[in-house]
């Protein structure tokens, strides 16, 4: 006998991601990941001016606004072979680094920590013991007795007033929860402090991008921030110093809190370092360009098969043919149809013609297409990025991987090897390691910008001119969830085709044209499920990917619906 569990938190009209698993003998035996909404947003930019596309496509997605904007301008610049002034590269790099830091902090604390942390248990903790434990593993300023008492009081107020309603959908008391009440209390304190840390990262994006949530400062050919050392209305030294202050605050939280909490979760849940492995081929983009042409980078990217670090193949520049020749998408199990049958199409030739059937286990079951790299699915995201760093001998990557390994070891946890990173908790670890690297890159770009302004270079924009005839370009971004690429075809100065191959497409895809599953489906296989009414364990694995489908519809819903459906087969 097996049990089918459907996790579909939203109704069809609104739908995002639906996960189906069949559980046999307490473990997931079959899995399906399904995007529940039509991804045809690219059609909105057809026939528009390529210079306007970025402002439109950043509305594709409520979480990844900034990276879609950057991907779009890079695609048009690649098509035009347009160089980007150094100041503009540095400013974009800082926006991307700060945006990704924001994402990673929010992801760990606000979106997934409560998969591991039992909030209700924290009300029973001894705050003195909690503070002693927390201060024993980190000298973070938010670990004092006063903080633990205050956090617990706050929590108890919620419980006693019945307001814990806000946490009612959590899986409190679930048998898979392993932390002591004191560690749970420490984590709840950090949950609250993370709300402040994410705000500093967001402030950097807002200051540089002129506005947040949706930045306003991009332009094909650079950025629209005029730089001046004295004027009020533009990017001044004073504003750059404000950014420096925000950076310093994030650094302290990152190293003393986020880093230590991830180590504590890894040490407390060692079995999750061998559960939840995704596809064993990894793909990442180089990021943080340091020259005007996009050929030198701070972070490496490329393709890696398994853990064969020596066989790593580098993507050496934006628009590298090794990358553009490798990417294709199929729709065999997606609700689309291609004019010439069921094979694969390159994104520049991509088609988005809907062909909805019902959810068919063996047939079509998702609005997400199936991207492949040279014919096979690949895992994108923080693991791919960290492994690329290890493969190329990047000293920053090695430093933080080693440091995490030492910390987990000091907490009596298992070894953090490259292979262990491809797991549910390993994904959180890789994301945190990447956050530390991003933080260094953010600081470095700030310094580069200051130095370049100091040399008297105030240029931020190169004017684009569009030729007659057809050109095509790709915009790569190593986004929070992994490799993002925007593909544009421009004809006589207007957009003739546009495709965004988003990170979650690589990860959440249905099976490809040859029946090979992508990372969500692979990672779910073998996951234990203790209680099918409360499928915490599959959620842990899916959450570790930071799932995000490129279409944000989020009506306020007053007709509450249950998110989990269980059926005995």
């Amino acid at each position: 006998m097996s049990t089918r569990i459907t996790i579909d938190p939203v109704t069809r009209i609104e739908g995002h991601l639906r996960i189906d698993v069949e559980v046999e003998n307490g473990r997931v035996a079959k899995s399906w990941a399904s995007g529940q909404m039509w991804r045809g947003i690219e059609q909105i930019v057809l026939d528009r001016d390529p210079r306007d596309a970025w402002a439109i496509v950043q509305r594709i997605c409520g979480v990844c606004t900034t990276v879609h904007a950057i991907g779009s301008v890079r695609a048009v610049e690649d098509a035009l072979q347009l160089e980007v002034p150094l100041n503009a590269q540095y400013i974009r790099n800082m926006i991307l680094a700060a945006h990704t830091l924001h994402d990673h902090i929010v992801h760990f604390y606000q979106l997934s920590a409560l998969d591991w942390v039992d909030v209700v248990s924290a009300t029973k903790a001894n705050p003195v013991t909690a503070a002693r434990f927390a201060e024993g593993i980190s000298d973070w300023e938010g670990n004092s007795r006063a903080v633990m008492f205050d956090t617990q009081e706050r929590l108890k107020t919620f419980v006693s007033s019945g307001q814990l309603g806000i946490f009612t959908n959590g899986y409190w008391g679930h048998p898979a929860m392993k932390l002591s009440p004191e560690v749970n209390l420490m984590a709840v304190a950090h949950y609250l402090q993370a709300l402040d840390a994410q705000r500093w990262a967001n402030k950097i994006v807002g200051t540089l991008g002129s506005k947040t949530p949706h930045i306003q400062n991009l332009a094909v050919g650079g950025v629209s921030n005029p730089i001046s050392t004295d004027s009020q209305s533009v990017l001044t030294i004073e504003r750059l110093m404000e950014i420096k202050e925000c950076m310093d605050k994030i650094g302290s939280f990152l190293h003393n809190c986020y880093f230590v909490d991830v180590a504590a979760i890894a040490a407390s849940y060692p079995e999750w370092l061998s559960l939840g492995a995704g596809v064993d081929d990894f793909l990442s983009s180089p990021e943080f360009p340091l020259d005007t042409k996009g050929t030198q980078f701070m972070m490496p990217g490329g393709f890696l098969h398994g853990n064969d670090l020596a066989g790593f193949k580098k993507i050496s520049r934006f628009g590298d043919p090794y990358f553009t020749d490798g990417v294709a998408e199929s729709v065999t199990h997606s609700w689309y149809t291609y004019k010439n049958g069921e094979g694969e199409l390159k994104p520049w030739k991509g088609e988005t013609t809907p062909a909805y059937t019902d959810f068919q286990d063996e047939g079509k079951y998702s609005w997400v297409k199936s991207p492949t790299f040279y014919g096979k699915p690949a895992q994108v995201g923080p693991i791919a990025s960290v492994l690329a760093g290890l493969a190329t001998g990047d000293p920053k990557t090695k430093l933080y991987v080693d440091r995490l390994d030492e910390k987990v070891h000091s907490l009596s946890g298992p070894k953090i090897t490259p292979a262990a990173l491809n797991s549910t908790v390993g994904r959180h670890a890789a994301r945190m390691i990447r956050a530390c690297i991003l933080y260094e890159n953010l600081q470095a770009n700030w310094q580069l910008l200051m130095d370049n302004i100091g040399k008297g270079d105030m240029t931020t924009f190169n004017k684009p001119t569009f030729p007659k005839g057809e050109i095509a370009g790709v915009g790569q971004v190593e986004a929070p969830r992994g490799l993002l690429s925007h593909w544009v075809v421009i004809k006589d100065g207007r957009i003739a085709n546009y495709q965004a191959v988003v990170p979650s497409t690589w990860l959440a895809a249905p099976k490809d044209h040859e029946g090979r599953p992508a990372s969500y489906e692979v990672a779910l296989l073998g996951t234990p499920v203790a209680d099918s009414e409360r499928p915490l364990e599959p959620l842990r694995t899916i959450h570790s990917f930071d799932p995000c489908l490129a279409c944000a519809v989020h009506l306020t819903d007053v007709e509450h619906k249950t998110a989990v459906k269980v059926r005995v087969l």
Binding site: P9, L17, L111
Partner: protein, 160 residues
């Protein structure tokens, strides 16, 4: 001085889903406000809105709403009627208003007064325009928002 934030949220690429953003833009274009009012285009973002809402004494949200009403109906919810809970979710896209309000409450800095002006969508198809039916209700939505501001003691003057 008490501060009020008017927050329009939604996805402008999906027709009526973007009604909140359209309304926020129209408010700024058509009215002058006293300095204690902030009108924000929140788009489809989630936690980025926390700093915007932290300092607010009152919050007026304009959003598309699923309330089981006929298409293009306008619904007004207040206080506890506005959902404020953490939902079981798979994706950060599902970090909605309810989660942000819950996080603010947990932090101890939720706005004292929350009003939601909701519009039941006619269509959510791809497109940057509102449906004609919802477009026709936009003026009513603006009037309701201005009434809320007046009730909170703020000044809102129609530009001539």
């Amino acid at each position: 001085m008490s501060k009020t934030v008017v927050l329009g949220i939604g996805n402008v690429l999906m027709s009526d889903e973007g009604v909140g953003v359209h309304a926020a833009k129209a408010l700024v274009e058509q009215y002058d406000f006293s300095s204690d009012v902030e009108v924000v285009d929140g788009g489809t973002t989630g936690m980025e809105l926390l700093p915007v809402l932290e300092g607010a004494d009152s919050l007026v949200v304009i959003d598309a709403i699923r309330a089981g009403q006929p298409p293009a109906s306008i619904v007004r919810l207040e206080g506890d009627e506005v959902p404020s809970f953490f939902k079981t979710k798979l994706s950060p896209h599902q970090v909605g208003l309810s989660d942000i309000l819950a996080a603010l409450a947990f932090k101890g800095c939720a706005p004292g007064r929350v009003v939601l002006i909701g519009v039941q969508p006619v269509t959510l198809t791809l497109g940057m325009q509102l449906s004609p039916q919802v477009e026709a209700r936009l003026e009513d939505v603006l009037k309701l928002a201005v009434e809320e501001l007046t009730a909170c003691g703020h000044l809102a003057t129609l530009r001539t």
